[in-house]
């Protein structure tokens, strides 16, 4: 059983437009030292998938910078390794307006990559989800069931879901077969959704994409999946581990703060033999000096903390000045806070500077966001 990976880097970008203005969903910083793609990539690498294509079509500078040659995920390989798949535009067709408008467009663009794979299965993943999943088990279940496509599903509480737009809600019968698939926005109760982690039999995926090209289909879910529920064999693999889906700024804030919960941290970072890998930055250990007071927080390396930090996530290289109080906030890489600053429910993007004495506050449902390189 062999498998290659395929990651959709830009899908869902518009859900957190503020943060993806200058980057892909895949390169949105998360959890102190990661980018969202790290979870999808690590899940694949930890399941011995050593050939991964990353489909992207705009804003991908930060993504390329993050991934480099893939060595931090052990994907700098002679055979396989990581391949970035930008849109395929020929010199005769440079004005195509619909480059990667949809997942199907993205798959069409990646068909060369897929065709060159000799692996039996293709594992697909989006970058708006956070989980630590054993894909080997999914692949085994897929192979055993003889499915064309297996959706990794999970049960969510619709009441707490914060997603702009829709989520893929699935219905599964007792045998594990997917009987219905609908893009919708559930508002209450427990619902089973697809995580958008999918395993496809390679030959099936190839035939579907080729057929979509010939028929001019544009939607993978509406034109292919929904129409073939009976003729094809779609299965569900129920995943019940820690799972988060980022679908809005509020959701980003909530998913980040969930890391302060021990069970969530264990489920993401504490799984034996399945580390979450990321780009190495070579930061020194974090320094706590002066009157630093810090409780209930996730802190990456390279920080210098001289003030008070509570219930917060601090990325690498954050400076918290003397007399400064940071509460319920997310400070991304190299955020600098001067002295006597007060922050509550604030998200600072990379390299933000907050001058002495500033008082900023948002609230849980509407965190105050300061864009990259902002000074306030």
């Amino acid at each position: 059983m062999t498998a290659a990976g395929l990651i959709f880097a830009n899908t869902h970008d518009k859900n957190i437009a503020e943060m993806t203005r200058l980057r892909t969903m895949a390169s949105v910083p998360f959890g102190g030292r990661y980018r969202l793609i790290d979870f999808a990539l690590s899940n694949m690498v930890n399941s011995d998938i050593t050939k991964v294509g990353v489909i992207t079509h705009y804003n991908y500078q930060s993504l390329l910078d993050h991934i480099g040659n893939g060595k931090d995920w052990d994907l700098a390989r002679r055979s396989g390794g990581i391949k970035i798949l930008p849109p395929y535009i020929t010199m005769f067709d440079t004005t195509t307006p619909g480059v990667n408008r949809s997942r199907m467009d993205a798959l069409k663009g990646a068909l060369n990559f897929i065709n060159r794979c000799s692996e039996d299965y293709i594992v697909m993943s989006d970058c708006d989800i956070i989980c630590n999943i054993d894909l080997k088990a999914v692949l085994e279940a897929h192979e055993k069931s003889g499915a064309d496509l297996t959706f990794v599903t999970t049960v969510i509480d619709a009441g707490t879901l914060s997603v702009q737009g829709t989520v893929p809600v699935v219905e599964v019968d007792a045998s594990g077969r997917v009987t219905d698939f609908a893009e919708m926005h559930p508002t209450e109760g427990k619902v089973t959704i697809s995580t958008n982690i999918m395993v496809a039999t390679r030959t099936y995926l190839q035939s579907v994409v080729q057929e979509a090209t010939s028929h001019g289909y544009t939607s993978f879910f509406k034109d292919v999946i929904a129409r073939s529920l009976e003729s094809a064999n779609y299965r569900a693999y129920a995943y019940d581990g820690v799972f988060a889906k980022i679908g809005s700024m509020e959701g980003y804030f909530a998913c980040s703060m969930a890391l302060l919960d021990e069970e969530a941290r264990k489920g993401i970072w504490g799984v034996p033999n399945r580390p979450i890998l990321t780009k190495v930055r070579n930061s020194a250990p974090t320094k706590y000096c002066g009157d630093a007071k810090i409780v209930n927080s996730v802190v990456a390396d390279g920080c210098v903390i001289e003030g008070t930090v509570e219930n917060s996530i601090l990325f690498r290289g954050v400076k918290v000045g003397k007399g400064t109080v940071v509460k319920n906030s997310i400070l991304m890489q190299d955020t600098y806070t001067g002295e006597n600053v007060t922050l509550n429910c604030v998200i600072t993007d990379k390299n933000v500077m907050i001058k002495d004495g500033r008082v900023l506050s948002g609230c849980e449902t509407m965190p105050f966001y300061i864009g990259k390189n902002g000074a306030i």
Partner: protein, 394 residues
């Protein structure tokens, strides 16, 4: 692929580090963890790459397994090069001889072929037991400017401590006229840092001569340097200013770690213009719990702090449970300090488990020494380890 290298570094990493006792039973001294996420050898290796030296031979002999794995292909230091890079040089069997390294000079002698392969003009000799940041390129420029055969980096030490070092007496132009190993009545305070640059051909001649001298200790400090001086070779002292510490003893290792603490530490590892690289483990950010108290500490990724930590350097993946109090200590990594345990003035090696309520060492003000717990040792719940005690791994 052949490309001439101007300068090749040879890093002496074979020493046992016997004065570090429990910390070096399984590990060569250069691989001893330092500063939370580093190992001692990260300093000379990072200095090399930051100085533009991309070919480094690491001479290993004693307990090399951890060190070999740590260095690997040199990727963390950007020393995974198509030509050159970092290479491990263990003793090997030659056509005529098969010897352990008999001394520092003999180790280089046995590997001169490595230097010759790159047709290097200069050879930089380093050791793996010092913590410092130094631009070797400046030293090389000095060496060339002086037209020296050998340049030795020196550090001005307080006169009263000079008798603990190898002391260089120099003329006003920096040339060395006398070298005395641990002199009783020093006439200079310029201490050798164990960092040498040689012209390759000159070094080769002296190594061969030394090898053919019966009874020689085959040592740079004892034989090669005095021999060159006696023969009137051009030898210069390169004055270094900045932080430098030999971490060959338990107390100096502890002190050097403590020198990293505070707002303006003596040794700043956060300086992005002179990074110290290390092999990283993929660990989560540290988590600080609701009741944690952290005062004046450096804490590394992967840690979980629920108790109290004061004046400590805490390495990666350490868990300090609720109610535990750790003070004035160095925790090298992957240790668990159990609930209510009290650790004072101690060095805790990697993989150690301190049981609930155990007491390690005593307050620094009254303790007669640093308590040391060796790699992978488990201290039972409620046990007592005296100040200054040394618990080696089993």
């Amino acid at each position: 692929m052949f490309k001439k290298k101007e300068c090749v570094a040879m890093l002496l990493a074979g020493g046992q580090g016997s004065r570090l006792y429990a910390l070096t039973t399984k590990t060569a001294k250069p691989a001893v963890p330092f500063g939370g996420k580093y190992r001692i050898i990260d300093f000379p290796l990072s200095n090399c790459v930051n100085s533009g030296i991309d070919t480094v031979g690491v001479l290993t002999q004693y307990q090399p397994l951890v060190l070999n794995e740590y260095i690997g292909n040199g990727l963390p230091w950007d020393l995974d090069r198509a030509w050159g890079g970092v290479k491990i040089l263990p003793p090997y069997q030659g056509q005529k001889r098969a010897d352990w390294y008999k001394g520092t000079a003999n180790a280089i002698y046995q590997n001169m072929e490595f230097v010759n392969r790159y047709d290097a003009e200069y050879v930089l000799i380093l050791s793996g037991d010092h913590i410092y940041k130094m631009d070797y390129d400046k030293m090389l420029a000095y060496h060339k400017q002086k037209g020296a055969d050998c340049t030795i980096a020196v550090l001005a030490v307080p006169m009263e401590e000079a008798s603990r070092f190898g002391i260089m007496s120099t003329n006003s132009d920096g040339s060395i006229y006398k070298f005395s190993e641990k002199p009783k009545n020093p006439d200079s305070n310029l201490a050798s840092m164990g960092i040498y640059i040689f012209n390759r051909k000159k070094l080769n001649d002296y190594l061969i001569a030394d090898e053919n001298t019966p009874g020689s200790s085959n040592d740079f400090g004892k034989n090669i340097i005095p021999n060159m001086l006696a023969a009137g070779e051009k030898m210069f002292a390169y004055p270094f200013e900045g932080y430098w510490k030999d971490v060959g003893t338990i107390s100096s290792l502890w002190e050097a770690n403590m020198d990293l603490l505070g707002e303006n530490p003596e040794l700043n590892l956060g300086d992005e213009s002179w990074r110290i690289y290390a092999r990283h483990q993929a660990l989560a950010p540290q988590f600080v719990g609701k009741d944690a108290v952290i005062e004046n500490c450096n804490i590394t990724e992967g840690c979980e702090i629920y108790g109290t930590v004061r004046n400590c350097v805490v390495g990666a993946g350490v868990k300090i449970e609720k109610g535990a109090v750790v003070t004035d200590s160095v925790l090298m990594g992957d240790a668990v300090i159990g609930e209510g345990a009290v650790v004072s003035y101690a060095i805790i090696d990697t993989g150690v488990t301190i049981g609930k309520g155990a007491v390690i060492g005593e307050d620094k003000a009254t303790a007669k020494g640093i308590a040391v717990i060796g790699e992978d040792v488990t201290v039972e719940d409620g046990a007592r380890v005296e100040a200054g005690a040394m618990i080696p791994e089993v």
